[in-house]
Symmetry: C2
Subunit: 342 residues, 2 copies
Amino acid sequence: MTRTKKSPSKNVSIEDVARLAGVSITTVSRVINKIGTVKEKNRLQVLDAVKELKFQPSIFAQRLATGKSNVVALLIPRYEGVFYSFYALELIRACGTLCEAFKLDLLLHLTDSHSRIPLNLRGAGGIIFSDIIGTRFQVEEAISSGIPCVVINNYVQDLPVSCIAVDNAGGAESAVNYLISLGHKKIAHISGDVSTQAAAKRLEGYEQALKKNNIAIKEEYILKTDYSRGQARSAAEKIFKMSDMPTAVFVGSDSMALEVMAVARELGKNIPNDLSIVGFDDNPSGLYGPVALTTVRQPLIKMAEEGVKELNRLMGPKKGASTKKIILPTELVIRESCRPIK
Amino acid sequence: MTRTKKSPSKNVSIEDVARLAGVSITTVSRVINKIGTVKEKNRLQVLDAVKELKFQPSIFAQRLATGKSNVVALLIPRYEGVFYSFYALELIRACGTLCEAFKLDLLLHLTDSHSRIPLNLRGAGGIIFSDIIGTRFQVEEAISSGIPCVVINNYVQDLPVSCIAVDNAGGAESAVNYLISLGHKKIAHISGDVSTQAAAKRLEGYEQALKKNNIAIKEEYILKTDYSRGQARSAAEKIFKMSDMPTAVFVGSDSMALEVMAVARELGKNIPNDLSIVGFDDNPSGLYGPVALTTVRQPLIKMAEEGVKELNRLMGPKKGASTKKIILPTELVIRESCRPIK
DNA sequence: CTGAAAGCGCTAACAA
DNA sequence: TTGTTAGCGCTTTCAG
């Protein structure tokens, strides 16, 4: 059991292994890639040599030679309120975990939206676009250059690409319907950044619910933000100052809803007595306020999982696989932040 | 300005560019890498060809040829309460942003702690270990194989590696001192996972403060958790049931502190009247509870930044650079969750 | 200032 | 079942 004092595994190549094992590099390659046509004895010798030398194949050489890459690039726009959110971490976490399981490398890119598609994407074997805000051209580029890709959190109708989205409109509608069922008629909406599809769809759902219930849409009741807490605060302050103050508000994200609650508290208002609130996300933080937040749960983890799975499929052997478009359902989670009125 | 309809940029190689520009591939390589010895006229021709063909060099070929990689692997242990935390997102975000600025690729690895150092690390040009929990051997391997690396959130005394940590003991001590200054003598501590250095150091700081103030350390007052909200909840329930209930508690993380607050509310207890609480992190969520959380701010972003900068330095040309060990200070942020007593 | 040619480490025909 | 050999796309001497 003598251990040859080998210096850093950094430079041991397949050739060294071949030499030590007394076979050709092809054979070594075969056992590494589990191409079964190798005599058992040789296989073991190679394996021993690998262990002895602590050999690890150069992924660069492998990728150069095969033209394939198992790197998945996850692109997340670096927007306040988008990246800086509960949502982003959930996504990263879920993608990371699943990629690990699939033996895929996860490259994280916080994109600038205006920069061109980054160089390193040339090396990506697949791309996950999360929330394409002003980066649609990147998706088009990826598609046209044949790199497998999927878009998550955005339903892309008109591009031949797989996408996994959440039923934002439906979720919003159910939230507002719930409020209406409680007797509310004066319902405001603090929307997120409507340049994101999610926020736009939620706004749509809000209006839809109102319409279907014959409640007039009041423009002053619709406050648009960038998803940041700062703007949520301003919006909340406006609401509390309205002469015809709404009795309920549907907020585009839980973190903004929490900010609304904070403002209420500072103003000596009571939630839900003075104002009913429904959020969106099911961010665990919603549980720890003075009153637990009623919200719309969106299956972020599921979405990420489906995304990685789909990408993995696309990256697999069956080329030209058809694309898949999925909309995941949401779920209204009723807690304590809403009161029936009248 | 005719645009040659070139198919996917996928396969345009340096050779195509050379041909179109009417020069050798060497020259193309020179202009791409800004090795200045190229006649201006040729340079422009190459640049045009690059644009025309939408050429992007293959990073794999580049890396194979140079033996260098600008990939930074960020290893984060996939622990409940570690990865699943405010802390992790801050880190990822900061590392991501800085890597983007340094033109480094960020590879995210959620490590399993017991798995061997992953294969793809062979391709990493540098590694950032965040929180080495049971993965010390990986650091050792990286060091011995000569891959530049830095450890963040962990002060590694006995290994020749750069590390950037936070003054956990000092932060904890200041928190407890503050409580003592308010008149508290019965101070409990809900610690995080003491197998992490951060939690261990915070516990140390807690004990230190008590000792220095001649307050006896009571073992029942020390509740150890895994940083999860579930265990924080159990700990809080225990505290509220104690016959000799503490008047204050120093909690190892803000998210656990929020859970303690939630338990208090459920039990009809008032914070800070019935119990003073100090957290650790300065997680923004701490602002949105019924009472704003007093906490210890740790400079996570700064830590990540220093880490990436240091790694970037290590990956640079000046080989064998000496290692650097930094401890960043914390700051007590006083808000509303503590009351003076007696 | 430029180009030819030798690799970088590995995979994949193709022969043997 | 195995080995030979020709690339993969780029960088880098080394001549010119």
